[in-house]
C-alpha cells in the first residue's frame, strides 16, 4: 500500500488507493491546497500509485 506523509499534520498513513485523487478523497484533502511529491518530483491527481510509493503531501498555504 502506498504511504502518505502529511507534512501539515506531521503524520504518516497507508492507504489502499490506485490514484492520488482517491487518496485526497479518503484523507479529506482539498487538492487546491496542497502539492504532492514522489521521490521529490511533483505528481498530479490522476497519477497512478504503486504499492511501495512514498508520497509527501505539502500544504501550499503560507503567510498569514
Amino acid at each position: 500500500m502506498p504511504k502518505f506523509i502529511l507534512e501539515k499534520e506531521g503524520a504518516t498513513k497507508q492507504l489502499e488507493v490506485i490514484t492520488l485523487k482517491e487518496a485526497y478523497q479518503k484523507l479529506k484533502i482539498n487538492p487546491t491546497t496542497v502539492l504532492a511529491t514522489r521521490n521529490n518530483e511533483l505528481i498530479i491527481e490522476s497519477t497512478k500509485l504503486k504499492p511501495k510509493d512514498e508520497i509527501k503531501i505539502i500544504p501550499v498555504i503560507s503567510g498569514g
Binding site: N30, T32, T33, V60, I61, S62, G63, G64
Partner: protein
Amino acid sequence: MSCKFCKTKPVITLTNNKINLCKSCFIKYFERKALKTIKQYKLLEKKDNVVCAVSGGKDSLSVLNLLIKLKDKMNLTLTALLIDEGIKGYRNKSIENAKKFCKEKNIKLEIASYKENFGKTLDSMKKKNKNTIACSMCGVFRRSLLNKKSRELKATKLATGHNLDDEAQSILMNQLRHNIALSSRLGPITGVKRDPRFIPRIKPFYFLTEKEVATYAFLHNLVNDFNECVYCEESYRFEIRDLLNDMEQKHPGTKHALVASFIEVLPLLKNKFKDIEIRSCKNCGEPSSSEICNVCQIIKKII
C-alpha cells in the same frame, strides 16, 4: 495523463481548465502570465526603482525571482525589503531563507522591524492584548512600514507576491463587511490616485493561483517548507480562504471568476472614491484618510 503541449510527465493540473503541464511548459506559462499582467496593467516601466517586499516565503521569493529575470532587460534598480514583525518560530525561519536567497542572487536586502519602528514585537503586542486579533494590527503596521521604507529608498514601485487567492479573499471580505472603499484600492496596481507619499504597490501574480505560485517556488527550490503564520487561524481571512477553497473544489474556476468580475467594476470603484482627501497624520505625518492614521490609533490603544 501527459503535458498538453509536449507529452511529457506533468507537474500540475490547472484548476480552471484542467490542462496538465510539465515542468518546462508550466514555468513558461507562469512567467508569460505574470509578464502579460505587467504589460497589460503597466506595472513596470523601464528604469523603475523597484522595492520587492519579501518575507522569505514562496510568494515573495517567486516574485523576486521573476523581477531578477527582468532586471537587466528593463534596466531596473532592485532592492528587497523584509518586515520583521517579531513572530517567534515563524518569521525567524523565513528571514534566514530570504537572506540566503538575496545573497545567492546578489540582491540588497533591507530589514525593518516592528520593534525598532513601533517599540514592540507582534508577539509582545499580542501578549499584552490577548483579545485583539493579531492580523488586524499586523496588516496595518506592515503596510505602513513597507510604504514608509520604500519611500525612504526612493522606490517608484513596491512589488508584492500577492496572488489570485489573496485578491479573491480581499474582494469577498470587503463585500461581506461592506468595505467598498477598501476594494477601490485593490487591483494589479494599488491606489485610487497618485500621491508622492504612497508608493504604488504592484502585484505581478495577480492572475496566478496560490497553488501555481507554490508549484513555481517548488520547481525553483525557493523554499524548504510552506509555513503558516502562528496567528493565521485567528483571522477572518482564514475563514474566507477555506470557504473559497471549498467553492473552488466544487466549482472549479470560482476564484478566477470572482477576480475577473471585480476587475470589470474596479474602474467604477476608483472613480467613485477618487475625490477622497489624503491627509497627513497629525501625530506621525504619514499619509492618512483621517486626522490620526490607523497605525497611531492602534499604538495608542494597545501599546
